[in-house]
Amino acid sequence: MDTGSGKLLSMRGIVKLFPGVRALDGIDLDVTAGEVHCLLGQNGAGKSTLIKVLSGAHQPDGGEIAWRGEPVRLPDPQAAMRLGIATIYQELDLVDGLSVAENIFLGHEHAHLGFSRRTEANRAAAALLKRLGHPEIRPTTDVGGLPAAGKQIVSMARALSHDVRLIIMDEPSAVLDQEEVQRLFRVIRDLTEEEVAVVYISHRLDEIRQIGTRVTVLKDGRTVATGLPVADTPTSEIIRLMTGRAIEYVFPPRGETTYAEPLLEVENLSRDGEFSGVSFQVRPGEVVGLAGLVGSGRSEILETIYGARAPGTGTVKVGGKRVRPGGVGAAVAAGIGLCPEERKSQALFLGEPVSRNIIAASLGRFARGGFVRLGAERRSAENLVRELDIRPSDVDREARTLSGGNQQKVVLARWLLRGCKVLLLDEPTRGVDIGARSEIYALIHRLAAGGLAVVVVSSEIEEVIGLSTRVLVISDGAVVLDGPAESIDEHRVLDLVLEGEVA
């Protein structure tokens, strides 16, 4: 892959550790001047962490970065900026109350003796905006009043206001319409002609076909393929690399299909603009998987069943009884438990000990007259820690210090203790080390075998199929397939999921 003299950036074996998880586990990336290098990967694969390392926002715990052949360190964003690396983040970091020109030159204002030279700045800003093909954005308007696309352009102008050699774009097309995307691509092509390199992150494979030179695919913090020429790599291969497995997992054998009365019944559930007409049933012992891309509505369906979002129409029944819609309390009382997608921000009390995290949904049961029975609390937590093999087996340890897999077990333990009947799992292995995944899978099966109805959402199609007894494929907010997992293979699901996504 070495293209000799043109090599701009070279990253080797980059490692980044967060408490309990290896976010990056040996990433390699080479970027050549004048190319558009696409970075692909599922949510949580490590893309965001990687670009933060590259932009100086995070310090890597291992590995080497070379810039034009020289080893470099990027202790802060200013250092990256000085080398000529600019980043356009997904959450645009603009100041709404300042003008376009002021935003563009934020941090390196045109100033004389502390007074800003507005005319000069406005003129320079206008020139940059023209170069980007957007002369209609006036340098003096407030950024707050611009549409998302306009803000994107301002962010790019800010990047170009430095002497930039490499621009990192984190999902720039997410907020743009078709025509704006095309204009963005023209700008990117102009830039690459000036030998500026672009690292381009997107979920949309058709865009990568249009603009990309080479592709690097990340998965679970590792590089599964790097520097593949876009022109010679079929889309199906790219999808296989993204959704496939870096190693083979052992899925436990599926349980017997049961014919018991359904425990969870979802009927005609809809929410405006998110999903519509979703109906399915889950019997005790069953694991039902929802497969679909990010934004297909799968997480929203789970949260609506759980009452965290109010449904537009439809009903949810547990054990034949209707659950009052739109309230988490009612859902929990009916016996539904949720392990949410964002474990740290939605499920855990990171500064609290493991025992308190486990007890959180069952406080009432561990209290007498409002007083927590500390002994009982401790015993139950210790039992569950032993039973689910949560390591380290210390119930007093703060939840933040646990690895992703063990944190997930803590959340599962919470619902086990509560004694729920229906368990909703959103991305149960997100951020979980590869080694620990099989354990989570086995645990989910054990819970189902114990008589729970389980619903699993995952971006990894193989995971959904391997784990579930039945699979629902969601596309554009609607159930497009509902069938037993044995009869469905990965390609079929991919075809359904990607319908309309891949040109």
């Binding site: 406080l363 009432g364 209290a367 409002g370």
Partner: protein, 349 residues
């Protein structure tokens, strides 16, 4: 959880009842006791009090946010009522100097006959007062002095430095009469950053120096009851034996006295300041030695003087036929022997 839905609901009910009670309470909560009957004005044998030509007087003062200022307002209005020939126009009390300026401008436009003004800030109101004078309206400046002599016809002031002198001189008298060898003298000041507090403390120290004494312990409070109590409690610990305490302000004095009672410390002579009704009652009971007046009657005097000015009369006890330019009120010491005389001047703090 012991606090479930029900207590919250009970609370609501209780609150409803309370709110109802509140309306009731607010309705009949008048803490002001009936004012002493509006006596006919007393004057030293002249015809000054006989009704003359109609006088329109504009009155403006700061917002009455504590007892003394409240008394300033109420005595001024009560005084005006005694004279059938006075038409008093009262501007809403404020703490905003620019608003007070516009109030004075309104008086000028209305062509009132005289203005009695207790400025929020003497300097800030000087210009508009001068404008009134130039328009031929005499201005009576009360308590806080203008920065120019041309801005007022009469200036009537209380005497903060004099208060300190009076308190100090009285303390010296006690030292002599009780034959105290090496007396411990303590001072509880008001808000320390105010010029008036500094003036009072300076006067106190100056008077004490005259009899060879100094202030041994000094604390400062905030003119509030609570701060008075806290400052006094600590002071009592700082000085295990005290002979004389001067407390600048009878408003905070309520707290100061509570601290004395709590600690059961009464070995010293307790001297107050300003002259509230509470203080005078304590003097009658014998639980306070004395208090130094800072009369809240200045504005009332101002009203009378304004009337005399417009009606072209002088102060009858003076040979001079005109009202003087400057009057500084005395800061007399109220003691058990003369408290009955001063009680009507006392204000509810």
């Amino acid at each position: 959880m012991s606090w479930s839905v029900r207590p919250a609901r009970k609370l609501l009910t209780a609150l409803g009842i309370l709110a109802a009670a509140g309306t009731l309470v607010a309705g009949c909560t008048s803490n002001s006791e009936p004012q002493p009957a509006a006596d006919a004005p007393v004057n030293a044998g002249s015809s000054n009090d006989t009704p003359g030509e109609k006088v329109v007087i504009g009155f403006s003062g700061p917002q009455a946010d504590h007892g003394w200022l409240g008394a300033i307002n109420s005595t001024a209005q009560a005084e005006a009522k005694k004279y059938p020939d006075i038409d008093l126009r009262v501007a809403e009390g404020t703490n905003d100097a620019s608003l007070q300026i516009s109030q004075i401008e309104t008086f000028i436009n209305d062509h009132v006959d005289a203005i009695v003004l207790l400025p929020i800030d003497g300097a800030a109101l000087t210009e508009v007062a001068r404008k009134a004078m130039n328009a031929g309206i005499p201005v009576v400046n009360v308590d806080r002095e203008f920065s120019s002599d041309f801005a007022s016809r009469v200036t009537i002031l209380g005497d903060n430095y004099g208060m300190g002198i009076s308190a100090g001189t009285y303390a010296c008298g006690l030292v002599r009469s009780k034959n105290l060898g090496n007396p411990v003298i303590a001072e509880i000041a008001g808000i320390d950053s105010l010029p008036l507090t500094q003036d009072r403390s300076r006067g106190f120290a100056d008077a004490l120096r005259a009899c060879g004494q100094t202030v041994d312990n000094r604390v400062a409070a905030q003119f509030t009851v609570e701060s008075g109590e806290a400052a006094a409690s600590n002071l009592l610990q700082a000085a295990p034996r005290i002979d004389i305490i001067w407390n600048h302000d009878d408003d905070q004095g309520v707290g100061v006295k509570a601290a004395f009672d709590n600690a059961n410390r009464h070995e010293f002579a307790f001297i107050g300041g300003a002259g509230s009704k509470n203080a005078m009652r304590w003097i009658q009971e014998g639980s306070m030695e004395a208090t130094v007046l800072y009369p809240p009657t200045q504005a009332a005097d101002g009203i009378r003087l304004a009337r005399l000015l417009v009606q072209n009369k002088g102060l009858s006890d003076l040979v001079q036929v005109e009202v003087p330019r400057r009057i500084v009120l005395n800061a007399p010491v109220v003691t058990k022997s003369n408290v009955d005389k001063y009680l009507p001047l006392g204000f509810e703090s």
